[in-house]
């Protein structure tokens, strides 16, 4: 732990859907924020500062939207910070909010992340053609599919590994009232027979494009002790970055991810993550990233993460449940996706996760990544004071 103690006092999220046509952007962030306040038993006047996270401004066509959102975020007259670290932003945003409390500056910080992708089209925004550049990359899948192929080659993983991850996450999503993709009749065969978009990635192995928001109230030790609600103590946080295009950079098992996990565990006093961590929400936008990140995060030896998928270790009733909420594969409001990972594990250790609660979860990890697998944000939360 670094600095003063901090804890999650409350969380909130929207029901993630393809298009939230009933609300403005202000209404969307507000819905998650209000739920977090209600969950924490707090009022708007209890909040000292606000930290907002969001992926590229082009998704909504609003430059630095936190300016326009000041009233919706209840931030008028308060400090308001806007974080943008690509796909990892939801996690990084929670870390910045945590820092404000750990630094002893504020007692209660509201942190919110959102994306309203239906205002534009994520595929368009991610594929804006820059002059002189190669127009070949077809969205995020086009970038990540060759990396997945690299993982399969390196690990010799069975080709159905990704299907199993997708099936698990889709089934988990059915227990999560906020999840976007709900397919009650999903089967292994349906995943395996879904269209091949970016070979080796099939349609059912990809994340949706969602409108949604997530929010948390992060409080000081004093605020946590004043609260009559269950809290999640923040045991460790870390962020790490590395360059996109570095020669010889390992994109399958990025150094920055390993370093980030190491730093986060060190702060949380974790020496054996597989034994000490009860469950995890990991940023998996394409199914194959579950085994890749299991290795990157030190839950499995390099080249063996796929085995934990096949033997059911990461299932909801497994030894290390992963993405109990259905994960990014089931809901992906890009800028919020990292924060949803973070708040879902906070709920797990608070015992408030609902139907997808892991019994007796005491220590849990939230993870986010972004860019070309180069930006990482993580935290470990626990039911006990660190």
């Amino acid at each position: 732990m670094s600095g003063n103690r901090a804890a999650v006092l409350g969380t909130g999220q929207t029901r993630h859907v393809a298009k939230r046509e009933d609300v403005s952007m202000g209404g969307l962030v507000r819905e998650a924020a209000q739920r977090a306040l209600d969950d924490a038993g707090l009022a708007w006047s209890d909040i000292d500062a606000v930290v907002l996270g969001k992926a590229p401004d082009m998704f909504e066509g609003v430059m630095m939207p936190e300016l326009y959102l000041a009233e919706a975020l209840g931030a008028v007259g308060k400090p308001l910070i806007r974080v943008h670290t690509a796909g990892s932003v939801g996690g990084s945003t929670a870390v910045v909010a945590t820092h404000l409390v750990q630094a002893g500056i504020h007692d209660r910080v509201l942190t919110v992340a959102f994306e309203k992708q239906s205002e534009s089209n994520a595929m368009w925004a991610l594929s804006i053609r820059i002059p002189f550049s190669q127009p070949l990359v077809a969205g995020a899948g086009g970038y990540f599919a060759p990396i997945v192929r690299g993982y399969i080659r390196k690990s010799q993983a069975p080709l159905d590994t990704g299907f199993k991850v997708a099936l698990k996450d889709r089934l988990n999503a059915l227990k999560n009232p906020y999840a976007h993709v709900r397919e009650p009749d999903i089967t292994f065969e349906k995943v395996a027979e879904s269209p091949l978009l970016w070979d080796p990635i099939r349609y059912a192995e990809t994340c949706p494009s969602s409108d949604g928001a997530g929010a948390m109230v992060i409080g000081s030790e004093r605020a946590a002790e004043d609260s009559d609600r269950p809290v999640a103590w923040i045991h460790g946080t870390a962020v790490r970055s590395e360059p996109t295009m570095g020669a010889g950079r390992d994109r399958v098992n990025p150094h920055a991810g390993r370093e980030c996990a190491k730093a986060c565990y060190a702060e949380a006093g974790i020496t054996d993550p597989f034994r000490q961590i009860d469950c995890a929400e990991i940023y998996v936008p394409f199914s194959w990233f579950e085994p890749m990140w299991l290795e990157n995060l030190g839950f499995a030896e390099e080249g063996t993460g796929w085995k934990m998928v096949h033997d059911g270790t990461t299932a909801l009733d497994g030894e290390l449940p992963v993405n109990m909420s259905g994960g990014v594969l089931s809901s992906n409001p890009i800028g919020a996706s990292g924060m949803i990972r973070f708040l879902e594990v906070a709920n797990q250790v608070r015992g408030t996760a609902g139907e997808h609660q892991v019994p007796d979860a005491k220590v849990a990890m939230g993870h986010a990544y972004g860019g070309g697998s180069q930006f990482f944000a993580m935290w470990v939360v626990g039911s006990e004071k660190p």
Partner: protein, 157 residues
């Protein structure tokens, strides 16, 4: 595409036009939607805030208390009012209400306590802070801020 030579280095640096264009589809939510529905009906709505001010356009959330404003509580204000500030725009830009030099104005509509921003169609030497202006409605209103074509000098008709 073009190439410009810079004397400072032997490198010829390239340059090309780059356009970012997208028709964003925005859902308005109840309060903005009610305001725009009002405009379509040639009616301006405001919201009474926690300080007792009638704010136009109505905010979705109160700046003072952060509480949600209810679309049902919006109140009509007049279509005419007074200029509280203005500026002259000598170089109209793409998308602005006029493609010739024009005035921007902040107008406090009668019944409101705050000012609404829009273009003012009046000769430069006629524009004054404190002048009375009215809304010139678009010939066809569709439920957008362009339903107000601009302000123009005078009282409502």
């Amino acid at each position: 595409m073009s190439a410009v030579t810079d004397a400072a280095t032997p490198t010829t640096v390239l340059e090309a036009p780059h356009v970012m264009e997208f028709p964003y589809t925005r859902s308005t939510g109840p309060v903005v939607g009610a305001f725009l529905t009002g405009l379509r009906d040639r009616q301006v709505l405001g919201a009474r805030d926690s300080a007792g001010r009638v704010v136009v356009p109505p905010p979705e959330y109160d700046a003072g208390t952060a509480e949600a404003v209810s679309a049902g509580d919006l109140v009509p204000v007049a279509s005419e009012g007074v200029v509280t500030s203005w500026s002259w725009n000598p170089t109209p830009r793409t998308g602005q209400p006029f493609d010739r030099p024009f005035a921007w104005a902040l107008v406090r509509l009668d019944g409101a306590d705050t000012a609404l921003l829009h273009a003012l169609d009046a000769p430069r030497d006629a524009v004054r802070t404190g002048m009375r202006v009215r809304i010139r409605w678009a010939q066809e209103t569709t439920g957008g801020v362009h339903d107000i074509a601009c302000f123009e000098p005078g009282e409502a008709q």
